[in-house]
Structures are given as C-alpha cells and as structure tokens.
C-alpha cells in the first residue's frame, strides 16, 4: 500500500531538517527523504570537523528524530502532481527498489553542488572537487601528510582548507580566481551587517595562516603519470608550478534544481523562484536553502522554518522570520557577485580536453554545435549517467547553452534507461540514421 504524509521534505541538510522539524512540531505528519546514508546535508555530513556548528546540528537532528519519518539512503527520482485526494506522489529509490509516497505538500531542500570547469588534466585521479574532498575526509579518507592544492573560487575553498589542515594535510596553496580588489570589498560588506559571518570568516584564519592564499590566479593545468603530481597556476602573466599529491578544485556552487524543474516550478538564473512564504510557482510546493540562492546555513535554517510554518498554516510564525531571511538573501547576492567567474576560465579547455566525463566528449567536437541539444545528439555530450549535471553547467559557462531539461528518473540506476532515452531523442529530431550508422 502506498504511504502518505501531510508533508514530504526532499533533502536533509539544514534547510530540510528545519522545515521537517518545524512542520512536525506544528502537528503535520512529515517524512524526510535524503540520498545520503545519514542526515545532515553537505555541512553536517559525518562526524568530523564543523565544530562551530555541531551544537546547532545536534539540536535540529534531535528535533527531527523523534517526530519525523526519516528515509536516509533514498533518492527522489520522480514526482507527479494532481492525482486525486493527494496533491502528488514522490517516487523514491534505493538499492534498485522503488517506493512511491503521497504528499499534500512538498518541500524541496535539495541544496547545491559544486561547479566544475574543464581544464587540461582535470580528469586525472587525484583531482577532486573541493567540497568533494572535504566530504571524503568526513567519510573516512586519510589525508594526513598529503600535499594538497586547493583551487577554484568561493568561500568554500577556505572552509575546505581549514578542514584538510585539521585532518593533517599540508596545503601547498589556496588559489582563488577572484581578484583581491573584489574580495576586499566583500570583507568590508561583511563588516556592515553580518557580524556572524565575519566571525565565521575569521575562524578559518587560523589554519590558512602561513599558507599562500593566491588571489586573481587560477589552475590552468594538472599533470602527472596516471595520478596528479603537479599543477600549473597562472595570473594571466606569471606562471608557476606546484608539486602536489592532490588537487581539490571547485568553482563555487550551483543549485540542485532538477526536481523543481521536473515539477514545473519556475526557475530563474539557476534558482527556484519562491514567494515570501517560500512557496514556488506551484501551489503546495515549497523550496528552501541553497536551491533558492546560494547563501549558507543560516539562510537555509530560516527558510526551512518559514516553509515549515507556512505549510502547517502558521503564517503568523512564518512572517516573524521574514526580515532575518531577507537580510541573509542580501548577503547571498553580495557573496555571489564577489566570486563571479573571470572570462579567462573559458579558454582553459583545449580541443582535446574532455568536457563530458561520462561519454569522454572532447571540447573540440563541441565548438561547432550551437545548442545543448545539438551537442547532445551529435557528440553524446550529457548523455551519460550524470545526465549533464557536470558538463551541462560547464557548457553553459563555456558556450552559453541552456541547461538540460531534466527527465525522470532523475538519478538513473539502470543504464539501459539512458540508451532508450537517447534513442527517443534521436528519433524525435530525425537524426537517428546518421548517429546510429
């Protein structure tokens, strides 16, 4: 029999946990679904690190544990709305089993992922996402004594460097592509109204002391024999090499909006649009946290509580938090303009540099394509299991193509499903004959 809940929350990061706990305490029957083995999302993953927020994490996890039905390790792969008594059904999957759950209201708290940009050597073993390496360390990877270059852009580079240092790694350099002039303005803006953020920033200072923090520079190549051994860093004019055992690289964050798009929620400039109660353009579907704008943990917690109260009909309580949320939102906007990507990063990938890692599509074969769809059909770019989650945002930056329209299942476990989708695409565009021969 299909289970049903007043509210289903997808994503158990700070935003999702706050929404679930708040709604449950207001009397709703709530279920939370998350694809990781334990609750916590990106920041409260595992037990290592993040001392500064451990107390907050414990508090929210406890509030959820007693009142909410928790489905860890389950991935939301599809959802349909408008079926009879219930507003919608969520399809979840784990270990090749499928379970449908009905909901009256839905909160999307799907968070964000790192943006990866292709450059020569980025597919070498030993090159990890910056947040990715942090996640590996939180889930048991031993990096003690390893030399690591941390590069890309965003405040995450500092957080990751602090965590890696704490775990015994030797940070060779932190390479931030944003120019110092912009970073300096950012710190100043922190001083104005966000004391908490400033303290957080200073907290990372201890571990970054003594480590070169290069600004206005970027990695233009990683090389090594079967594993990364060195990276080349440039400022455009000067070039230098660093010997390293690992490269941790990420270009700030992009929102996970695939489920929202599947549900036809309006999305603008990469983020889900919401009203003051966190409701999306689709009635009864709310969105909170990084998916509405990259803005950190406090923003996620506030939005989660607002959505939880709103879904439970406690609009008075939701409204009380709106001003604090709006302050966080303004901070988020400044944050994102500070770490805007420089155009030089568009020129790093050579013709032979792989852009789509699933299908090994080199950059050179994409140059003649005009749209994502064309690239997909002619080169198989984005046709692999990640469904363009890595190369889609990269080609959006490189070529200005629209991001791919998601389709169910959002995360394929059966690779044959993809082959079928591809055939369907090819057939509908009439190029089957040329691509299949």
């Amino acid at each position: 029999m299909t289970e049903s809940f007043d509210l289903i929350v997808v994503g158990a990061g700070p935003g999702g946990l706050a929404a679930a706990a708040t709604a449950a305490e207001a009397g709703m029957r709530v279920c939370i679904v998350d694809d990781n083995p334990t609750c916590g999302g990106q920041i409260w993953r595992g037990t290592a690190g993040e001392e500064s927020t451990k107390g907050t994490a414990t508090k929210w996890l406890e509030r959820v544990r007693d009142r909410v039905s928790v489905r860890s390790g389950w991935t939301a792969v599809d959802s349909v709305t408008g079926l009879g008594k219930w507003r919608g059904t969520l399809r979840t999957e784990r270990d090749a089993q499928t379970r449908d759950i009905c909901y009256s209201a839905l909160v999307l708290a799907t968070g964000a992922r790192e943006l990866f940009l292709p450059f020569p050597g980025w597919t070498l073993p030993g090159v990890y996402g910056a947040g990715g390496l942090q996640a590996f360390v939180k889930s048991g990877l031993d990096v003690s004594g390893k030399r690591i270059v941390v590069a890309g852009t965003g405040p995450l580079l500092l957080a990751v460097s602090a965590g890696l240092t704490y775990a015994g790694a030797r940070i060779v350099a932190i390479v931030e592509q944003a120019p110092l002039s912009r970073l300096a303005r950012f710190s100043l803006s922190l001083l104005w109204g966000h004391a908490g953020k400033l303290i957080e920033g200073a907290g990372y200072g201890w571990s970054t002391r003594g480590i070169p923090y290069l600004t206005g520079e970027w990695v233009n190549e990683a090389s090594g024999d079967g594993h990364v051994q060195s990276v080349t860093v440039t400022s455009g004019s000067r070039v230098r090499d660093f010997k390293t055992d690992m490269l941790a690289i990420g270009f700030h964050l992009i929102a996970n909006i695939e489920l929202a798009r599947l549900l036809n929620c309006v999305v603008e400039t990469g983020f889900v649009c919401v009203d003051s109660m966190q409701q999306t353009s689709v009635k009864g579907i709310y969105c909170v946290g990084e998916a509405t704008g990259i803005g950190g943990i406090e923003k996620a917690l506030l939005e989660g509580q607002i959505a939880g109260f709103a879904a439970a009909g406690r609009l008075d309580r939701a409204k009380e938090m709106a001003a604090a949320r709006d302050r966080r939102m303004r901070f988020a906007r400044r944050l994102n303009s500070t770490f805007a990507l420089r155009t030089e990063l568009r020129t790093l990938a050579r013709d032979e540099t792989i852009v789509c890692r699933c299908e090994d599509v080199p950059n050179g074969s994409l140059r003649d394509c005009r749209t994502w769809r064309e690239a997909k059909l002619h080169t198989r770019c984005g046709m692999g299991p990640c469904q363009g989650r890595i190369c889609g945002p990269a080609t959006q930056f490189l070529y200005g193509w629209d991001s791919p329209q998601p389709r169910p299942p959002l995360f394929p476990t059966d690779v044959s499903v993809l082959a079928e989708q591809w055939k369907e695409d090819a057939r509908s565009s009439g190029i089957m004959a040329t691509t299949e021969s």
């Binding site: 070498l124 990890y128 996402g129 889930s139 048991g140 989650r389 995360f411 059966d414």
Partner: protein, 86 residues
Amino acid sequence: MHHEQVMDTCFSITMNGKSLQVRAGTTVAVAIVQSGSLSRHSVLGEPRQPLCGMGICYECRAQIDDLLHQKTCQILCRPGMKVATE
C-alpha cells in the same frame, strides 16, 4: 560518545577480491580511493576516481555485491561487503 565508539570499530570488506580493513562510517568511495584502486575506466579507457563526493558525477560507480553501477560515495561499507571496480 556512543557515536565515536561506533566510528572506532573496524571490519573487513572485499575490494576486487582482496580483503580490506575499514572503519565503520567509511563510504565505499573512500575505501576505493584509500585502497589505491580506480573506480572505473572511462569510455576511452582513461583511469578515473571519484570526483564530487555527493552523488552527482557518477565517477565513483562500482559493483557492490550483486548490484551494478552503485554510487559508492553515498553508501557506507558494511562488514563482508564485496566491491568490484571496473
């Protein structure tokens, strides 16, 4: 307190036919990297290892027991688990 005790427990899994000691709480992707294995070879035969650590890129996919193409960065090691990379 309880949590730390659990983290300190070690057990063994099988990685490509060889026994490997891991701590409780270790994800399979981490076990792959820690053992020095690759997770897969790409379409053109390039060696690959996990990238994103958060279930997005599929570079960490491997066979766990009877299930193919599992995203190992989102699965914890269990005692006796058999992992096969490509």
